[in-house]
């Protein structure tokens, strides 16, 4: 046996368990603000992910136990479930999760090998293929007349195509959707913001959900599970890009605070862009990666075809990782700042 002969007590399982734990405030907030639908979505995604993971491990000839217990599949499942509309139909969740685990994770080589964040791949596939179903967001409870119970949520999720009227009664456009639609209809931002869905910074309920994700994310940072570079740069990218546009034309571009306090941004900044496997690895590279993802998010939100851009922004930056890493290698101890140049002897 080689040195070192001691290890600190960390493990992949422990890292993943902390990530899951840090998602709990967000999940609790979601239940509190939007009803219990998210619990069904999470359970369904988890079960699908574990089954897919087990099947793929078996197919690829890997031992099931160490990889199933590393919890990475559950993290993917939860991140996807939390990105999906709370009342999305069951087959949407299953399809997305399967795609994330089977294609984005295992066909790329399994744990540690995937170039793209699996949850975001699942999300992107769904929003491209099923844009309509991807709008089935439960409205904030404070705005809906009759909040759904757990059983009712289940019947919406598993019940297949509901009558449109019934669906309309319980779902609602997200603030980003509302902004986008309003802008397309030539309203100004100020006019749009008078709709009841908008709160102090983001949307009613949504801003609190974002706050809950932020809380969990800060805990991860405090525990040194994630580094500060990616979230900070990501949020800075959003804030600067949105602020820049807003500064020049406040009528056509949403305020930076509004863009920041979307749940997808906080989830993206602290839980998805920080995915070590598909992200940049050098300290400066992490800053570039996060900042780029933030900028792209605003660009896609503003000029792209989809209301939110976090998933695409992160996937695009995933592509750039090898380049970013190669260009941002830190200066090695004792090596002169300019690499490769030998001082004359």
């Amino acid at each position: 046996m080689p040195a070192p002969f001691v290890l600190d007590r960390s493990s992949v399982t422990q890292v993943m368990a902390w990530v899951l734990a840090a998602l709990l405030p967000g999940i609790a907030a979601s239940v509190w603000l939007f009803g219990p639908g998210i619990l069904i979505t999470l359970s369904l995604a988890t079960a699908t992910a574990l089954a897919a993971e087990a099947a793929m491990l078996k197919a690829r000839g890997y031992p099931a136990k160490p990889f199933l217990t590393d919890l990475s599949a559950i993290v993917t499942a939860w991140l996807l479930a939390l990105s999906l509309p709370t009342l999305a139909p069951w087959w949407l969740i299953v399809t997305g999760t399967l795609f994330a685990i089977v294609v984005a994770k295992h066909l790329y080589g399994g744990l540690g090998q995937n170039i793209f964040n699996p949850a975001m791949v699942g999300y992107a596939v769904l929003i491209v293929s099923f844009p309509v179903q991807m709008t089935q967001w439960a409205g904030p409870l404070s705005l809906t007349a009759t909040p759904l119970t757990l059983a009712q949520s289940a019947s919406v999720i598993f019940g297949g195509d509901l009558p449109k009227a019934m669906l309309d009664a319980v779902t609602m456009a997200t603030p980003l959707d509302a902004l986008r639609t309003g802008l397309l209809q030539q309203y100004t931002v100020d006019e749009i913001m008078t709709q009841p869905i908008f709160g102090h910074y983001g949307g009613i309920g949504f801003e609190w959900l974002a706050g809950a994700f932020l809380l969990g994310g800060l805990a991860l940072w405090a525990l040194r599970i994630i580094s500060w570079q990616v979230p900070l740069a990501f949020l800075a990218g959003i804030w600067l890009a949105a602020g820049f546009l807003h500064f020049f034309d406040a009528g056509r571009f949403g305020a930076p605070w509004f863009h920041l306090f979307a749940p997808s941004v906080m989830l993206g900044a602290f839980f998805i862009a920080t995915d070590p496997v598909s992200g940049a690895t050098t300290p400066r590279g992490k800053l570039i990666f996060g900042f780029g993802a933030g900028l792209l998010t605003i660009v896609i939100r503003t000029w792209g075809g989809y209301p939110d851009g976090v998933a695409f922004a992160i996937l695009l930056m995933n592509l750039a990782v090898p380049l970013i890493d190669a260009w941002t290698q830190p200066r090695v101890y004792g090596v002169a700042p300019r690499r490769g140049k030998e001082p004359p002897a």
């Binding site: 040195a3 002969f5 493990s11 992949v12 690895t281 290698q329 101890y333 004792g334």
Partner: protein, 554 residues
């Protein structure tokens, strides 16, 4: 302390486990019946034996003479009779035996005559030669011959002398205890170093988890007639590594591939300073050292041990226990497993760490790298261990080298923090040794090619010479024949004979080329295996033929 300290990047905080061993009083270990003294205990050329089997030797007598500049002598650690000179198991991870001198002790522990050196009146060169012959080598673990390190040379003045009392490896406390008990001696050794190096600034770096050592060194330093600054440095592994201690104390980094003397700094371990003081003020060669015996033993402690004492005897002294799973020399971060508990204590032995499953549970199985970069955050050399691992694993050694593989100090911080439990350092050692092996091979093959080309050239030349000679002869003969028409039939017959002979030779050569082996028509995997074995053997053969000295003419 007024001094501004700098911090190096990375590092880890493994549990110290210092209190186990540093509270018991220090004793001398009992004299063993047999001492096994390796001739190679330092970096450089091994010592040459200067005694014979059957010869009686005294304590401190030279038994192996330094061989060359980078070498150090070895001495009998006690009086007795030389019973063997030859290969024996030594403390090395490979388990390969090395040349040793074995002494059956006689229990009288009789000293050879020795006298202090008057170092102030000796020329520096003479003094260094004496130190080499007294066997001085670095006791911090690297065992580099001290005489060499004390030679600043004309071009490298060493204004700064750093005395390393960092001792950042967990479990080890021999330097701590030495500083508590022998601070004056250590500083006397430092005075000799200062004399030889001409240093103007002397710093003693001690981690702040050793308050007693700090106190005792400070009060000893106050008594000196030159300034020694005793500095408490933050306890962090590998803060006691030479490069890291230099950075902490001075803010400077040793340039990659260079020595600290290139930036005017020399570093010695406190144990070396102590040994130097014994050598100069008592004329004693390096025949004993302080060793921490700890881990899975009943009474962890520090012992004054004669070089050559079997480790097993010390474990018994400290109280061996059931459930021992192995013995390490050094600490848990960089130590190496001993092939046999009977191996002798050598100059590099700072700690004997006895393992058990409770203290050192078997390492969990490795998972794939998740690129979490904890290793990079912990790496004091500011490397990207995850990339080095990727390249080493893929056999892409060129890229590994580009990513500064050779700046890795093998401190083990990366492996320590890796949540996937990847034995990263192993991969780096493997990659380094592969690169060395390839370079060696390349040199061997370059040499072989040169030889081959020269041989070809020689053969060609000989052939040409022969042909010219023959042609000349034939010319002469033809001239002769022309003069004598009676022998006209002969040349034809000769030509035919030559043709037949040539054809035969060709056939012979062809046959040799396709000589069937009894390994034809094997399944591909077997075939592959055989090819691999053959390649290895060819490699070994090529290496075996490689001359030791490059100047040997082909």
């Amino acid at each position: 302390m007024s001094r501004t300290l700098f911090s190096f990047k990375g590092g880890v905080h493994p549990p110290g486990h210092k209190a186990e061993s540093n509270t018991r009083p220090v004793h001398a270990a009992p004299l063993p019946k047999k001492l096994v003294i390796p001739l190679r205990q330092h970096i450089g050329t091994p010592a040459k034996p200067v005694v014979e089997v059957g010869e009686r030797v005294l304590k401190g007598q030279l038994i192996g003479a330094a061989d060359g500049y980078i070498s150090a002598a070895v001495h009998a650690s006690s009086s007795g009779v030389v019973s063997a000179i030859g290969p024996a198991v030594v403390p090395h991870a490979s388990g390969l035996p090395d040349e040793c001198i074995t002494i059956e002790t006689d229990g009288r522990d009789e000293w050879i005559a020795h006298a202090p050196l008057d170092y102030r009146t000796m020329t520096p060169a003479d003094l260094r030669l004496r130190l080499r012959d007294l066997g001085l080598a670095g006791l911090g673990g690297a065992v580099f011959p001290s005489a060499v390190k004390l030679d600043p040379g004309a071009t490298h003045p060493c204004p700064t002398l750093i005395v390393n009392g960092g001792e950042c490896e967990p479990w080890i406390t021999c330097d701590d205890v030495l500083m508590r008990t022998h601070a004056d001696d250590i500083l006397q050794g430092v005075a000799v170093m200062r004399h030889l190096l001409g240093s103007t600034e002397i710093l003693v770096g001690i981690e702040d988890n050793k308050p007693e050592a700090l106190d005792s060194m400070r009060s000893a330093a106050a008594k000196l007639d030159f300034a020694v600054e005793v500095v408490a440095v933050p306890a962090i592994y590998p803060g006691g590594g030479a490069k890291q201690l230099i950075e902490t104390l001075t803010g400077k980094q040793v340039p990659s591939g260079k020595l600290s003397t290139d930036i005017g700094i020399q570093v010695f371990n406190v144990g070396t300073a102590h040994a130097l003081a014994r050598a100069v003020h008592h004329g004693e060669p390096l025949i004993s050292r302080l060793v921490t015996v700890t881990g899975h033993v009943l009474r962890p402690q520090n012992v004054e041990v004669l070089i050559g004492t079997p480790m097993h005897a010390l474990i018994t002294l400290a109280g061996d226990r059931e459930g021992t799973t192995g013995v390490l020399m050094g600490g848990p971060m960089m130590g190496m497993p001993m092939p046999d508990p009977e191996v002798p204590v050598v100059k590099a032995t700072n700690c004997i760490l006895v393992q058990s499953n409770e203290l050192f549970p078997p390492l969990p199985k490795a998972l794939p790298c998740i690129r979490c970069t904890r290793c990079a955050d912990a790496c004091p050399a500011v490397l990207q261990p995850q990339e080095l691992f990727r390249f080493a694993k893929a056999g892409d050694f060129g890229r590994a080298q580009e990513y500064s593989l050779f700046d890795c100090i093998e401190c083990g911080c990366c492996s320590y923090v890796c949540p996937s439990h990847i034995p990263l350092v192993d991969f780096y050692r493997y990659a380094k040794s592969e690169i060395w092996a390839r370079e060696k091979e390349k040199r061997a093959s370059d040499l072989a090619r040169e030889r081959h080309e020269f041989r070809q050239f020689r053969l060609e030349r000989e052939k040409k010479e022969k042909a010219e000679k023959l042609a000349a002869k034939a010319q002469a003969k033809r001239a002769e024949l022309a003069a004598d028409p009676s022998a006209s039939g002969a040349p034809d017959a000769d030509a035919k004979k030559a043709l037949i002979a040539a054809a035969l030779a060709r056939a012979q050569a062809k046959k040799a080329g396709v000589e069937p082996k009894n390994v034809d028509h094997l399944p591909p995997d077997k075939q592959h295996e055989i090819e691999e074995i053959e390649a290895r053997r060819a490699k070994i053969r090529a290496l075996a033929r490689q001359p030791l000295e490059p100047e040997e003419n082909p």
